[in-house]
């Protein structure tokens, strides 16, 4: 690949339509972007100020300046003070919605707004009191009762539905607010974070790791839920959903209008064309991520955590745009990608402080970085490695379709998928290689299954995982073999099917060993993880070797069954695939029974 040519295509991708915007439109877009940015930051920083001065609080004109109610009004931006008298208030000669006077007089004017002002003012008084207590130098006097709270790691639900936690198994200590960036939680449990250093503060509901001593009321206690950092980390994913719309459109546009044909006859390779067309969108996303990281006081780790997500967003969109036959289909594809990717990255990150499963999402790395936590290289690789690999494989498969016959023809999607796979088959050696390349997909699929099923009772989760884990592995071992036979890359003889099955199973076995990366984060400690990833059964070297090789035999056998089915046709392949899956699931069950 020639970088100069990629750069030229990338520059063209950016500038080809630039001239269609006149100066007024550009100016309007810049103003709009600035407006959205300013309003967004302002709203995030102080709630937007939309409620400032919304309620008018009448205070007795003769009350002293030091009257605590006046202080409450001054401390709460939603209130505006008006000096009046109770008589004037009751006669409706005042603008006040509520009137306060003396220690027990808080009165609404009877209107709906007045009642709302009444409730809001009561909350404001409580908040004011709480903050006054926090400011009290003698903490013991303000909060005479001390409660120790220890959070424990959630144990997965057992078969009978009961869960148990073991305090000694490394639960999370600490409660309420994290130290550092923000202040304590408010009585109502809402965030009241106010960042340091002039940047956007990270609201601190939920606790970080380690033990802290916090003052507060019981209602201020909250589980270790990184709400603030999570929301901020989510901001990294939001722009990706928009950028893929433009990226998918430009790829499909080349196909629908057949404009890509002339690029294909040029000396530029399809790798260079795709790289050049993708680069501006990737760089754009990286720029957005960097700006967000700086604005949110994140570090390089935030960028490195978001980068693989951006890559998978783009790679999945690229493949989707290569498969879609119309902009209507593309819309469906991009929405599906948005929903799946956002769910896959966001939901696990919710459990950042709870379980290692959270690390299946690179967004967890961003959350950890925003919380100021350190991340080990193993954690980073575990979290992002599958994403990088999945993105690479998706791009490779998509590039396999970046040719005249698939770009401009109205082929059925399954036929295109088969074409994409066949484009990577160059003889027998490609078969084990593709099996290896599919391991990240298997890994991601199995991790997702573990994440989705770990809260479920084991009686339900384990059988489902057994079958799913087997099915996804069998698919990864057989789909390219089927494609190769279907497109006559390999002859449909029994001998060839045997060779292909053994090669595919062997390749997958090698790739599967890469999943031992999960050992870095202890995922196999979970029962659900054991089903999928297994665990050591013995320390006897010979037995260890035998057990090491048994999966090889299983993989080769089941892959051969599918390959033989594929050599007879599509229906036979489907039947053989089911048989292989059941055999594989039976093997998995045997392993589990040995472990238990």
């Amino acid at each position: 690949m020639r970088l100069r040519r990629i750069g030229r295509i990338a520059r063209w991708e950016v500038t080809k339509g630039a001239g269609t915007l006149d100066r007024k439109t550009v100016f309007a877009l810049v103003v709009l972007a600035l407006l959205v940015g300013v309003v967004g930051v302002s709203a995030f920083d102080d709630g937007g100020g939309l409620e400032d001065g919304i309620y008018v609080v009448g205070v007795d004109a003769e009350s002293a300046e030091g009257d605590p109610y006046r202080q409450v009004v001054a401390a709460s931006p939603e209130f505006r003070l008006e000096e009046t008298t109770i008589t004037a208030f009751r006669l409706g000669e005042s603008d006040a919605d509520v009137f306060v006077g003396g220690p027990r007089l808080l009165e609404s004017d009877g209107s709906t707004k007045g009642d709302a002002a009444y409730a809001a003012f009561r909350d404001a008084i409580e908040r004011y009191n709480y903050e006054s207590m926090l400011a009290e130098p003698d903490e013991a006097a303000a909060f005479p009762v001390t409660v120790s709270v220890q959070y424990q790691e959630r144990a997965p639900a057992s078969a009978d539905g009961s869960g148990s936690g073991d305090a000694s198994s490394g639960g999370f200590d600490g409660s309420g607010a994290e130290g550092g960036a923000g202040s304590g939680g408010a009585p109502d449990g809402a965030s009241s974070g106010s960042g340091e250093g002039g940047g956007l503060g990270i609201p601190d509901v939920g606790g970080g790791l380690g033990e802290r001593i916090e003052a507060g009321t019981p209602s201020a206690l909250s589980p270790p839920f990184p709400f603030g950092p999570l929301i901020l980390a989510f901001l990294f994913v939001v722009p990706m959903n928009f950028v893929i719309q433009a990226y998918g459109s430009t790829i499909l546009d080349e196909r629908i209008k057949r404009r890509g044909e002339l690029l294909l006859v040029s000396p530029a390779s399809r790798y260079e064309i795709v790289a050049g067309k993708t680069l501006p969108y990737l760089l754009g996303l990286v720029a957005i991520v960097v700006v967000l990281a700086v604005a949110l006081e994140g570090g390089v780790l935030s960028v490195l955590g978001a980068l693989p997500i951006a890559l998978v967003f783009l790679a999945a969109t690229f493949v989707g745009a290569m498969l879609a036959r119309s902009f209507k289909e593309l819309t469906f594809v991009t929405v599906a990608i948005s929903v799946f990717m956002t769910t896959y990255t966001f939901v696990p990150a919710i459990f950042t402080e709870v379980t290692a499963i959270a690390l299946i999402s690179p967004l967890t790395i961003v959350v950890m970085d925003l919380q100021g936590e350190s991340v080990t290289l193993g954690q980073y690789l575990f979290s992002t490695g599958p994403f990088y690999l999945v993105a690479a494989v998706l791009f490779l498969l998509g590039i396999g379709l970046y040719r005249e016959e698939d770009m401009f023809a109205q082929k059925a999607i399954p036929a295109k998928v088969v074409d994409a796979l066949v484009s990577r088959l160059h003889g027998y050696r490609s078969v084990p290689l593709l099996s290896i390349l599919f391991v990240p997909f298997v890994f991601v699929g199995q991790l997702l299954a573990v994440a989705l099923l770990f809260p479920a009772p084991e009686a339900l989760a384990l059988p489902l995982l057994l079958v799913f884990a087997a099915a996804i592995e069998e698919l990864a071992k057989s789909i390219h073999v089927y494609a190769g036979i279907a497109r006559s890359r390999f002859d449909a003889s029994l001998r060839t099917a045997l060779v292909l099955g053994v090669l595919s199973g062997g390749g997958f076995f090698v790739g599967e060993k890469l999943t031992h990366a999960v050992q870095f984060v202890g995922l196999p400690d979970l029962p659900a993880g054991q089903v999928v990833f297994g665990q050591a059964l013995t320390s006897d070297p010979l037995l260890v070797l035998a057990l090491f090789l048994v999966p090889l035999v299983v993989h080769a056998t089941t892959a051969t069954i599918s390959a033989i089915g594929a050599s007879y046709g599509r229906t036979q392949y489907a039947a053989a695939f089911v048989l292989a899956t059941l055999l594989h699931a039976g093997y998995n069950l045997g392993v589990i029974l040995l472990v238990v």
């Binding site: 040519r5 030229r8 057949r258 044909e261 002339l262 040029s266 000396p267 005249e404 016959e405």
Partner: protein
Amino acid sequence: MIEVSNLRKEYGGFVAVEDSTFSVARGEVFGVVGPNGAGKTTTLKTLAGLIEPTAGTATVAGLPAGDPETAAILGFLPEESPLYEEMTATAYLEFFADLYDVPRAVARERIAETLDRLDLEHRERRIGNMSKGMKRKVAIARALVNDPEVLIFDEPASGLDPLTTNYIVEFTRELSEAGKTVVFSAHNLFHVESICDRVIIMADGNIVARGSLEEIREAHGGTTYHVYATVETAVGVAVRENGHVRHTVSDMDAVDDVRRRVETEGGRVVDIQTHTPSLEEIFLDVARREEAR
């Protein structure tokens, strides 16, 4: 310059081109004609490296079609002109010149020269705002931006008015005179006949006729003689036309035979004409025969 050997292309179960073999010499203008679905475009796209053959080989200047080095010496003009309509003609051509690694100064000079020859005005106008003929000229200029040795023109005048069509045909002739090898496909067989040195006629994925126009005519009957008489004889093929009987025969001996018989039967010969079949007539004849099979 171009060698195609046992070329076969299948799409699923459909055979688009079946065992096609031909060669094109350097500097030759080579025509590919045939009805819709005959396999012309598939053949041309295979030469351009867009389509991978199912079997057989296609080489250009000794290099496999589709090789980046082949692409560098090749100019391809597809039947439709899928241009980037938001770009100006100049920007569009400069972009493609960059892709072909043409030095910027050389590219500018070449683009200006080509557009002058094509008589294209409004070069800074966005392509989307150009007429169909102007767009076609931009597409032709793009195919020439790398000063290719081989040009593959698929229906270059498709859908254009007669004036622009003649302009493009003449331009193709100029390219040929400048030493370019041109593979040319067109529905308008008059144009093919007027500029092509050799031709293949394709039908249902097969080459059904090949050679120079003279050779093809020879193979399909060559020159015939039309003897118009007042009475019908048993010689040749007799057809009534404009009140006379037209006898079509293949040589002068047959003409003499017709004349003698007409006189014997008391009639007289009104006119004798030689007839050279056009490529279109041969093409229609071939197409009919293929359809009958």
